[in-house]
Symmetry: D2
Subunit: 226 residues, 4 copies
C-alpha cells in the first residue's frame, strides 16, 4: 500500500482497455490519478490535459479494434484510423510530456501496446504495423530519455481481458476457447489487474534500470527474445 504516495499520474482513454484497472490500482497505492477520457489527443487537448503540469507518471493507454483484413483488402480508412488512434497520439503525448520531464529531471512513461507485432498476425497486418510503430518509437524514445532519468517502457500485451479486444462476448465463444488452448501456453486469458501490477512495478521508485523495453506480456504466446 502506498507505493505511489504523493505521485501524480495521468491515464489516457481511461475508460477503456487497461485504463480502469491501472487507475484503480494506482489510486489504491496512493497516487493522485487523472482519468482522462480523450481518444485522438490533438495538441490542443494535450495542452489542456497538461495545463496544471506534466504528471510524474504518464500512462499512454490507447486502443482500437484490429480491423482484420487480408493484405490485399486493407482499406485506406482502416489503415488511417489505426495510425490516427494508436500511433500519432502516442507521439504527441510523449513529445509534450518529455520536455517538462527533462526539465524536472525525472518521469515515468508507460505505454500499453500489443504483442501482436512481436509475433506477427495474419489478417492483421495493418494493426501490426500501427502497434509496431508504437513499440519502435518507444524503444528509441526510451533510450534517448534514459539519461534524463525518464523511464519509458511498453507493456506489449495479448490475451488480457478488456472491452476492446477481449470482451466477454468473445471469451465465451467455443472456438475462441479452443484457440486459447492451442495457442497460449498458460491456457487462459488473464485479468487486467495483472497488467496493472506490471505497470505499478514500472511506475515504482525502485524501477530505473529498465528503459526502452518492449515487455512481452501474453501468457507465453510471444516469448522470443525479451
Amino acid at each position: 500500500m502506498g507505493q505511489l504516495l504523493g505521485k501524480s499520474a495521468v491515464i489516457t482513454s481511461a475508460g477503456h482497455y487497461m485504463g480502469p484497472a491501472i487507475a484503480d490500482l494506482f489510486e489504491e497505492q496512493g497516487a493522485g490519478v487523472t482519468r482522462d477520457a480523450g481518444e485522438l489527443y490533438p495538441d490542443t487537448a494535450i495542452t489542456e490535459l497538461f495545463a496544471a503540469g506534466v504528471p510524474d507518471i504518464l500512462v499512454v493507454n490507447l486502443a482500437e479494434p484490429p480491423r482484420p483484413a487480408t493484405v490485399n483488402a486493407i482499406t485506406d480508412a482502416d489503415w488511417d484510423r489505426l495510425f490516427d488512434k494508436l500511433v500519432h497520439p502516442l507521439m504527441r503525448l510523449v513529445r509534450a510530456a518529455s520536455g517538462p520531464m527533462k526539465a524536472r529531471g525525472s518521469g515515468k512513461i508507460i505505454a500499453i501496446t500489443s504483442a501482436a507485432p512481436l509475433r506477427g498476425i495474419p489478417r492483421a497486418s495493418a494493426y501490426c504495423a500501427a502497434r509496431g510503430a508504437q513499440n519502435s518509437f518507444l524503444r528509441a524514445a526510451g533510450l534517448e530519455l534514459a539519461k534524463a532519468n525518464i523511464q519509458v517502457n511498453a507493456i506489449a500485451q495479448n490475451y488480457v481481458r478488456n472491452d476492446t479486444y477481449y470482451p466477454d462476448s468473445i471469451l465465451d465463444r467455443d472456438n475462441f476457447k479452443l484457440h486459447v488452448q492451442q495457442m497460449v501456453p498458460t491456457k487462459r486469458v488473464t485479468e487486467s489487474r495483472e497488467t496493472a501490477q506490471l505497470a505499478l512495478y514500472l511506475a515504482g521508485p525502485d524501477s530505473t534500470h529498465m528503459v526502452g523495453q518492449i515487455l512481452p506480456f501474453a501468457g507465453g504466446w510471444t516469448t522470443s527474445t525479451g
Copy 2:
C-alpha cells in the same frame, strides 16, 4: 549468371538507396528489370506501374533521411513526411501486388528497410517509428502470404554506402570514421553490392522457406535475437 533468367522484377525509387545496385545485379542475372522512378506511390501511380502485370519480384526500396530531433522537438512535418515516404507507400505497393500474386500462386516481395528500429537510436525516434511500422507490417504480411507461395522479407540494413544515409560526404568525416570503429563490429561500411547479393538470394527460386523475416544486415551492429 542467369539465376533470375526469365523473371520480371520491379524496383521502386530505383535511382536511390539500394535501387541501382539491385537493378544492376538482377539484370546481370537475367531478370527483366523495371527501374521505376516514383517516390510517394499513390494508388494511381501503382496502377500504372503494374499495368502490364504484377512482376515476379517486387523490390520495395524506399528511403527518406532520418530527420534527427530529440523527442520533444519532433515536428509534425517531419513525422508526417517519414510516414508518407516510408510506411504508406509500402502498404499500398504490397496491397496492390499481393492479390495478383495470390491468383498466380507465386511471388517474391523484398523490402529494403532499416536496422534502426531493431536497436533503437536516440534522436531518431520518428525514423525508428516509421521503419518499425514497415518491419512489423512486413512480418505480418509475410506470415499471411506464405501459404500462397509468396515470400515477403525485409533487409533491415545499416552501415551500407548509399546516397540517402551514407554518402561519401559523411563517410569521409573523421568523427564518422571513429563512430564506425566504436559501434560496428566489422569496423567498416559495406558496399550496396552486398545488399544486392542478399536480395538476389531472397529472389532466387530456391528460397521459399524464409518468410516474414526481418533480416538484420548491419556489420554486427544489431545481432540480438532469441
Copy 3:
C-alpha cells in the same frame, strides 16, 4: 508490505550475486526465506535442500566470473567451469522442483541470469554460451510448465552492482566509468535492490501471465526485441 506473506522461498548461492538483496526484500514482504549457501548443486545437495518440501518460490541465483578470453584462447577448464557453475545446476534445480510443483498445481521459479548472450560480448563467448544455455532452457521449461500454473522466468541483467561482476573495485575505475557513459543508456550501474523489486513482481500472486520470459534488465544496454 506483506506481499509474500505465508510463502516459502529458497534462494540459491544466497551470499552472492543477487542473493542478499532478494532474500532481504522477500523477508521484508513476509516470506519464509531459506538462504542456501550451495554452489554446484549436485543432486544429493538438492535432495537435502528440498527435504522439507519444495518451496512456493525458487530463486535460482548462480554466478561465476566471465573468464574473458579470445575465442582461440578459451581453455577447457574455463569452459567446463562456466557450464558446471551456471548451466548444469540450473537444470538439476528446476528438474527437482518442477515435479512437486506440478503435483501441487502452482510454483514460481525465478532465475537471475545475464543479458550478455542477448547482445553478445567479444572476448566472453564462453560466458555467453553458458548464460545463453540458461536462458534457452528457461524459455522452453517456462512454456512447458505454464499450463501447470508454474511461472518460470529469467531476469537477464547487466550493470547491476554485485560482488561477482561489478564489485566496487571495478565500479571505481575511470575506464569503467567511461565505458558506462558510452555503452549504458541510463549512464549508470544500478543497485541490486532493483533486481530484487523485479523478482518480487515476478514472485507475486498477481503475476501469472508472464512465463518463459527472458527479461532484459540492463539500463537499456540490451533493448532489442520484435
Copy 4:
C-alpha cells in the same frame, strides 16, 4: 556456377543433417570440399582434420535427436549427450579454426544450428538449452571475429527434411502433416537444398556484412525479431 572456385571447405559430420546437401552444392560451385565423418570432435580429431591447413570455409554441421522429456524427467545421460554432441565440439572446432583464420586475415564459419531455442519447445528443454548455447556462442564469437574479416553466422533452422529430425518416416505421418498445417506458415517442410543455398550465400565473397547473426530459417515458424 563457380561462386566458390578455388575455395577450400570442410564440412563436419558430412554424412548427416545438412552435410550432403551443402557438400554437393559447394562442390558444384567449385569449392574443394572435405567431407569429414566425425561426430564428437575431440581436439585430436580436430588437429588431424586441420593438418593440411584450416579451410577457407568451415561448416559446423552437428546434429543429435532432441531426446524429448518433460523437465522433471530429463536424464543426466540425455542432457550430457546433447551438450557433448552439439555444444562442446562446436567450441573446439571454432577455437581451432579461429587462430589460423585470424593470422590469414579471412575466413567463413557457418554453423547449422536450430530455431528451437528462439521459440522454445515444451518437452525439449534440454535440446533447446544445447542449441541455445550454440547460438549464443556463435553470436559472441561472430562479433569478436568480425574485425579480423572472419564471418561467423548460424542457420537456425527447423522444418527442413533431414535424416536426424525429419526423416520420411516422420514426414509421412498424418499427425505430423496436421502439425505442419497448423504451425508452419508456409504449410510445408522444405528440402535441404534450400539450407545449402543460404549457406552458399553466407560463404560467398560478397558476404562480409552479416556477422554473428542467428538466422531463423523455419518457414515462418519463428519470425520474431531478426
